[in-house]
Amino acid sequence: MYESLKTNRRDFVKKMAALSAMTAAAGMFPGIVFASEQEKGIPANANLDWKKAPCRFCGVGCGVLIGTENGKAIAVKGDPKSPVNKGLCCVKGYHSIMALYGSDRLTHPLVKKNGRYVQTTMDEALDLVASKMKETIAAHGKDSVSIYGSGQWTIPDGYVASKLFKGCIGTNNVEANARLCMATAVTGFLSSFGLDEPMGCYEDIDHADTFVLWGNNMAEMHPVLFSRLLDQRMKRGVKIIDLATRTTRTSMAADKSIIFNPQTDLAIANAICYEIIANGWMNKSFVDEHCRFSKGLTNMGYGLEDNYAFTDKPEGISFEDYKDFLEDYSPEKVSNLTGVSVKDLKYLAAHFGDPNKKVMSLWCMGMNQHSRGTWINNLVYNIHLLTGKISSPGNSPFSLTGQPSACGTVREVGTLTHKLPHGVVANKEHREFAAKIWGVPVENIDPKPTYHTVEMFRALDRGDIRFMWIQVTNPMVTMPKLKRYRDGAKKEGRFIVVSDVYPTPTTDIADVILPSAMWVEREGLYGNSERRTQHFEQMLEPPGEAISDTLQLIEVAKRLGYEKQFGYKEDTHIAEIYNEYRRHHEGKKHNLAPLEVLKSQSGALWPYVDGKETKWRYNSTYDPACSNGKDFHFYGNKDGKAVIWQRPYEPAAEEPDADYPFWLGTGRVVEHWHTGSMTRRIPVLHQSMPHSYVELHPKDADRMQIKTGDKVKLTTRRGEITLPASVNERGVPAPMQVFVPFFDESMLINDITLDSFCPISKEPDYKKCAVKVEKV
């Protein structure tokens, strides 16, 4: 057993080494083909039908080619024509098709009867779901039913969910797990620019001179994009600066690794702005022409109590006010707080301040899962705005995503409580526009948002929500302070429907389990981090009675009496839905490419105007929506200007103290995708990373006499968990910090995390709470 594992892990490392080299090669020679490696394992006499799709896993949106034979996917390779990955994949992508064939795929609906699951037909299961919804609405009102989806929903899935719940039933109880990962990026973009999603695209990587990674372990989480950075370093000598709270593979590959104290990125960003102004590096003409200054409320709290509410109150300020505010953030004043030397703070600022350097900032969960997440997003935009390094090739603040359609479905379709496909529920014109396309009375759409994700699960616990339909996500692994929400979901009088492809801790709480068609077992569309919408056709038949989440929703909608709104034909329903959805985004600011275009190429960036993608928004050279006659136009805001925000440093909701002296942060590993429900069923990935662990700093481990593999108990105010230690292995946290990956459902770290969140975005902070560490 041990020898077998040893061999497999070494093989895996060798494969990783080969993939790294192939990725680097693809950057140097776009379209390069390593046929022997890519087609290894394919039977010699195979007659494969290769079709394109975006990868099933992360938000990078790599193009893959899937080889099918006799109704089965038997090979996968990177699509050389995809401008995203240029023929490469990461280790998860190369094994993606294996996730279709786990031995415990859900194939038939299951209904809980007397505590046991009983197999039933899809028709009967959908009848039951519809009747329970009707019954719940009749007894408790429309806001007692809810749907919780994800950034893995295809665009049609999310669209019909929103149409059914917001347009037909009339409740805004629509949320998605992107609230747990991308909501902060959304509020960051909205508050600074008035419109969501990055202004630039991946092509910025080919132009930038310096890359600043803000708490972003790209080497493990976005390996294909990271390889493009490494390739640019080989070709052009670009600099990669890793600014993080933990030493990772990204730190080791970077030109400079800067470790900072948790939460103090707020002070670091302000220190950079201080230096930019103090050294005369500000692009005054850009700021005068295209920016205004503002401040908001402070001491907002952390959302720890039920029914917490917060609305920011922006107030205009002058440049002089802003400059005075920054006086508290000179490198000398914040060095102690941040743990970063004055020299390194000045080094960082100098990269942004150098007029001859193009700078790209990249971030993901480090900045987004942050109790002041919207603020830190604003502050990074401040740096780019003060220097005018934005919306042009190579100058790009860029928020990366973790799911294949967090952008395409959750952010663009708007599957969040306050959103509509175009605009927000609170806006009368937006409601009228959506109602017209949906064919429903405008009065159906409630102007008041209901529950964001954490509050939705609190409402389920309290009994304000009685029915929840969970599709393609695993909240019973991912919710912070998980025990409360698991216990709440199990209470009497709750009815939970879960649509998924494998059994998970979330299906464990279900009253009805619906088997879903996965990825290329149905037709669909995803939207990736760089505004690229990609189509994939159905290549395989789903197992047993599984059907797509789109069809499940349509069937229930019809049973609820909405035949008119959901009268799509089975053969053409995806095309009909996409064409209907496109109408919400018509116009130069967000036009989506026609389906025929998406079928013929590896997706297209929106806004897609007059047959062309828009690579850099707000820049009149590239963006046809600019209409102010100037070089830049931040048209998301009425005055056409971007906002530079005065946002202070504030501490995290819970910081180490005498009883709980360590910081606890959580995150991901390269082998597993999120909760591991798919990748843990891929043998080579599972064997490479079979279980979770707790990383400690070597000095802490030494002092506590802990070695790798020793059992370590972690205790927070929410509970305790025991995990094996990892010392000086893959990642090394700073002293008095520990890190635990969350992929392992047998070691649920979220049982002890804290459900504090950013008061503006309502996204939880999974990176910071206080913990006691003991050797068992």
Binding site: K6, R9, R10, V13, K14, M16, A17, A18, S20, A21, M22, A24, A25, M28, F29, G31, I32, V33, F34, A35, S36, E37, L230, M234, T708, G709, E729
Partner: protein, 79 residues
């Protein structure tokens, strides 16, 4: 216990010869590009001495124009 990967650029017209030569070294695995003059080399050695011997052997291969290290994994003993 290092595992390393390299991009190997052969001298013009020597790709196949170099592929063959590298494939004969026990510690080497070679993945040739189909449509470019490039080989990927993955090496695996058990200790420092073996690694140094391999490096010396590679340095004697006259058909290598350029060899660039891409990744190195010093795998822990627990692997």
């Amino acid at each position: 216990m290092p595992i390393k990967s390299y991009l190997v650029h052969p001298n013009l017209g020597k790709k196949q010869l170099l592929h063959t030569a590298l494939s004969q070294i026990e510690q080497c695995e070679v993945i040739p590009a189909e449509n470019e003059n490039l080989l990927i080399l993955v090496t695996e050695t058990q200790n420092k001495t073996e690694e140094e011997n391999l490096q010396e052997r590679l340095s004697l291969l006259k058909d290598i124009k350029l060899m660039a290290l891409v990744s190195g994994f010093n795998t822990p003993k627990t692997f």
